[in-house]
């Protein structure tokens, strides 16, 4: 009988899941909607970009689809303040 293998997440993704969120740079955004279209759980990422707010939606998987697909480099991962303070 084989031993059950521990579930392994890619390191980078694991770190993002633990300590970050998606942050927009509004000056780059033209509201094309590719980010919202790419979100697997239908978060309106574009609205966050218009308002210049991080995607703090607690459902956000930080899967990176919106970051990767934005044609204008509007979105990036950033460490959240909460963890930067050493919480």
């Amino acid at each position: 009988m084989s031993r059950p293998r521990a579930r392994k997440l890619p390191d980078a993704r694991h770190e993002v899941l633990a300590a970050g969120w998606v942050v927009p740079e509004p000056v780059r955004c033209v509201q094309c909607g590719i980010c919202s279209f790419s979100c697997p759980i239908d978060i309106d990422v574009r609205r966050h970009a218009w308002l210049g707010e991080p995607v703090k939606d607690r459902h956000c998987l930080t899967c990176g689809e919106c970051v990767a697909r934005c044609p204008r480099g509007v979105l990036r991962f950033a460490r959240s303040d909460l963890f930067e303070r050493g919480g």
């Binding site: 509004p26 780059r28 033209v30 094309c32 590719i34 919202s36 609205r47 044609p71």
Partner: protein, 439 residues
């Protein structure tokens, strides 16, 4: 009775203004009048709609609920004239709309080409979502298109058509693409990548006539007498601000509607913002046009606040655009080029006249494969930058240009022929940011 705010146009500047007005005046009436049937959508997003990256429904950032939330009334109608003395806008259907404050955010439209055959079915432009739909209806594998023009829109047409497997010919009047913003190396990188994608570029080529058969496009004739059979002709030779009602009412205009630093026109209570506004630029000391989404939003917000009685000066920020040229993300910051582009009349979409002010500077450049970094180095500061491909440095460079950071410590190093620009900029920015944030 609350203030009556009337906004003509339904683009980025209009929506940004409406939001700003509502933020300061909860009780005012806001009415947006536009002849565009489709309302508010992302005009720059049309490129990605054409290429198939985003469906049409996603181009619309506002749902009905968003208009309701802001209590914005919308009217689909065409403006006939402005009655400045009585503070009214007359519509073509005879109705008159009174206003206390008026915003003209009418945008710009493609320049018409006066050549035989341009009215044939199959000659297209890319002004609005209706144009994009018309193009997609005609895009079938195996068809052939000819695109003429320059700047970003011409390339959006070329790339959209190629993404739809249409054989595409691209005519350039001169010997390279977007010659007044890109330098020769950058133009060649873009052209080479287009050719790799199967686009046939015809240099020193001008269209003389669109040929038709039973009212539809059948081909084009070039000025040197060549005939190319095709099903579609895309034209993007620039855009022109839509100034008709403003000109008719006697507002001060040049290439656009002239506005003061509060974005007010020469008439009391009338403001202008976005593509149609010609705005004083302290960077160059001239009044300039921009056809950039981000600029339109920023101007709309300031105009909106000023319409509610605030007195806020619009500070033109460093012009900035991110675009994709032949698949390469490209950021253009500040002043990068000079002269004029033979393929464009006036201004293209996604463009800023500031980019082409002749800077008193030296160019430093670093090219590796397709990634390219070009800096316009002034006496003490960076005047502009172009980042093609890898975008790691585009945000640092925007901050350095926008804040006019004193680059004296690295200036000589930047101008050294074998300088590693990326490393120099990254290192300098890290130090500068620390100092800047501490200050």
């Amino acid at each position: 009775m609350g203030q009556r705010y009337l906004i003509v146009g339904m683009g980025a500047a209009s929506i940004a203004a409406a939001e700003a007005i509502r933020g300061r005046d909860p009780g005012g009436e806001i009415l947006l009048v536009s002849e565009e049937e489709d309302g508010y959508y992302s005009r720059p997003g049309l490129a990605y709609f054409l290429s198939g990256e985003v469906p049409e429904r996603m181009l619309f950032p506002f749902a009905e609920g968003d208009f309701d939330r802001l209590r914005l009334r919308r009217l689909h109608a065409r403006v006939d004239s402005l009655q400045l003395r009585s503070h009214e806008v007359a519509l073509e259907d005879g109705r008159r709309l009174p206003y206390d404050r008026l915003l003209l955010a009418t945008g710009s439209l493609a320049v018409h080409v006066g050549l035989p055959g341009v009215d044939l079915d199959g000659v297209v432009k890319l002004d609005d979502v209706g144009d994009a739909r018309r193009i997609l209806k005609r895009c079938r594998r195996g068809r052939t298109a000819v695109v003429v023009g320059g700047g970003i829109t011409a390339l959006e047409l070329v790339e959209g058509l190629r993404a739809r497997k249409v054989h595409t010919h691209y005519f350039l009047r001169g010997d390279r693409y977007w010659g007044n913003v890109l330098d020769e190396t950058e133009s060649k990188i873009v052209e080479h990548r287009l050719q790799e994608e199967g686009v046939q570029i015809h240099y020193h080529t001008e269209m003389a006539e669109v040929l038709g058969k039973r009212g539809r496009v059948a081909g084009v004739l070039t000025q040197d007498g060549r005939r190319i059979d095709c099903d579609l002709v895309g034209i993007a030779i620039g855009v022109r601000p839509r100034m008709e009602p403003a000109e008719g009412a006697g507002l001060a205009t040049e290439r656009g509607i002239l506005v003061d630093e509060h974005l007010q026109t020469s008439a009391p209570d009338v403001f202008a913002a976005g593509d149609v506004a010609q705005v004083f630029d302290p960077f160059s000391g001239k009044s300039v046009l921009d056809t950039l989404w981000g600029v339109a939003v920023a101007q709309g917000r300031v105009a909106g606040r000023n319409m509610t009685g605030q007195s806020e000066a619009y500070h033109k920020s460093v012009p900035f655009n991110v675009t994709r040229l032949a698949g390469l993300t490209t950021t253009i910051i500040g002043t990068v080029g000079r002269g004029r582009d033979e393929d464009v009349r006036g201004i293209a979409r996604g463009d800023s006249e500031t980019w082409r002010q002749l800077p008193n500077s030296f160019a430093a450049q670093d090219v590796s494969d397709v990634n390219r970094l070009r800096l316009l180095v002034g006496e003490q500061k960076l005047l502009g930058a172009l980042v093609m491909g890898d975008q790691t440095l585009s945000r640092p460079l925007y901050e350095l240009v926008a804040h006019q950071a004193d680059i004296t410590p690295i200036r000589e190093h930047l101008l050294h022929p074998s300088a590693r620009l990326g490393d120099l900029v990254a290192g300098f920015w890290a130090e500068w940011r620390e100092r800047h944030e501490a200050a």
